[in-house]
Symmetry: C2
Subunit: 208 residues, 2 copies
DNA sequence: GTCTATAACACGATAGAC
DNA sequence: GTCTATCGTGTTATAGAC
């Protein structure tokens, strides 16, 4: 009983707030410039903190980055986790596609942070990929494979199906500049078009 | 007639060779660490040159990077350029998909260099996107649209069709680590599987 | 708990001998 | 044309006053 703590997990309220504040700023900076491109100065300024003060809450620049990635993976995989084995197969897939596309629209910074990390060879996420992502994907791939074997979806490799959903939805976040340049200034929001296209694509691919 | 020059474009043979040698090394380093993550030291070492000697051939680190990107764009868009308006529509699309996937397999460094640049907002390629990529895409999108209007392909947004081909094929280069982790060590080469999947996907999407 | 000052280092780029 | 030595800057991280 310390009396001075008001926490969930060994942190005071102030610490929790500051850490959240730094995380928010760091997400901004890391997702724009990458890990090496980002500087502690930038993050401190974005968080309205002095640099030494920031380094009081996190021991190093890398610690901030790792903290962000650790918290991100669960959020990022949540839509995949929500695929319901008892639902209608095509509905479940299309709902998954829509959720992932919505995340690309509403969380482009997280998408880019993730993309930077994977492109670089996931130097700060080795355990997460092997121990969290792979088992989840394998499990849901089995569910999808079951649907295909029951004739409720047209057959296709379930792992590559999941890859394709990731790839296509995240493209609209990570390559936003390219998408907007090609579509031209008249298209203020590419996402409704993207949703129509992707629903059509996966319906034609999977509807029995 | 200078006599000492053996060139195509105002460079001696030695200069041309060294520049090629530096470009090769820089592609390695930039595609692994990104622009900011790469150091001139690393590039010089990879090119078996001293740092000052490298900076004798290129005025700055940024100049090397720009040089790479300028030479890359044409190569990168070549498969799209080769779509033949007089060919069989589905064949042309599937050939394009296969070519792009082959490039992901054989030129993953170029793919990553490109991905880094676009994710960052294309700070060194603003002109190229607007003046080279967009016109080419618009032109080929018109060809595809014509095929769809003639009933030779099922209708779909041609711009997003091209986005999806880019996204899916480049995914296997840029997110290689993730793909291999999920597929597991038994799959030594993901590309044959990927080709099968993508051919199926676009055939079901487009075959009339 | 927060700030100023600064250490310690790596980086890009240059100068000058050879 | 190539090398060694080095400058100046920007960076992470720490020490110590308040």
């Amino acid at each position: 009983m310390t009396g001075v703590k008001d926490n969930t997990g060994g942190q005071t309220r102030i610490q929790r707030d500051k850490i959240a504040q730094i995380s928010e700023a760091a997400l901004d900076v890391f997702s724009t410039h990458g890990f090496r491109g980002a500087t502690v100065d930038q993050i401190a300024k974005a968080a309205s903190l002095s640099k030494p003060n920031l380094l009081y809450y996190f021991p190093s620049k890398e610690a901030i980055h790792t903290h962000l990635l650790e918290n991100l993976l669960d959020t990022w995989l949540d839509p995949l986790r929500q695929i319901n084995p008892d639902g209608d197969p095509l509905d479940e897939i299309l709902t998954y596609v829509r959720r992932k596309l919505t995340m690309s629209r509403d969380m482009p910074r997280e998408s880019r942070l993730f993309a930077y990390e994977i492109i670089q060879g996931a130097p700060n996420m080795g355990a997460g990929l092997e121990e969290v992502l792979k088992p989840l994907v394998d499990g849901q791939a089995q569910v999808i494979r079951g649907w295909m074997e029951d004739g409720r979806l047209r057959p296709a490799d379930p792992h590559h199906l999941i890859f394709s959903i990731w790839s296509l939805t995240q493209h609209y976040a990570d390559f936003d500049v390219q998408v907007r340049t090609v579509l031209g200034p008249k298209v203020t929001d590419p996402f409704p078009q993207a949703e129509d296209y992707l629903v059509t694509l996966f319906t034609r691919m999977l509807a029995p």
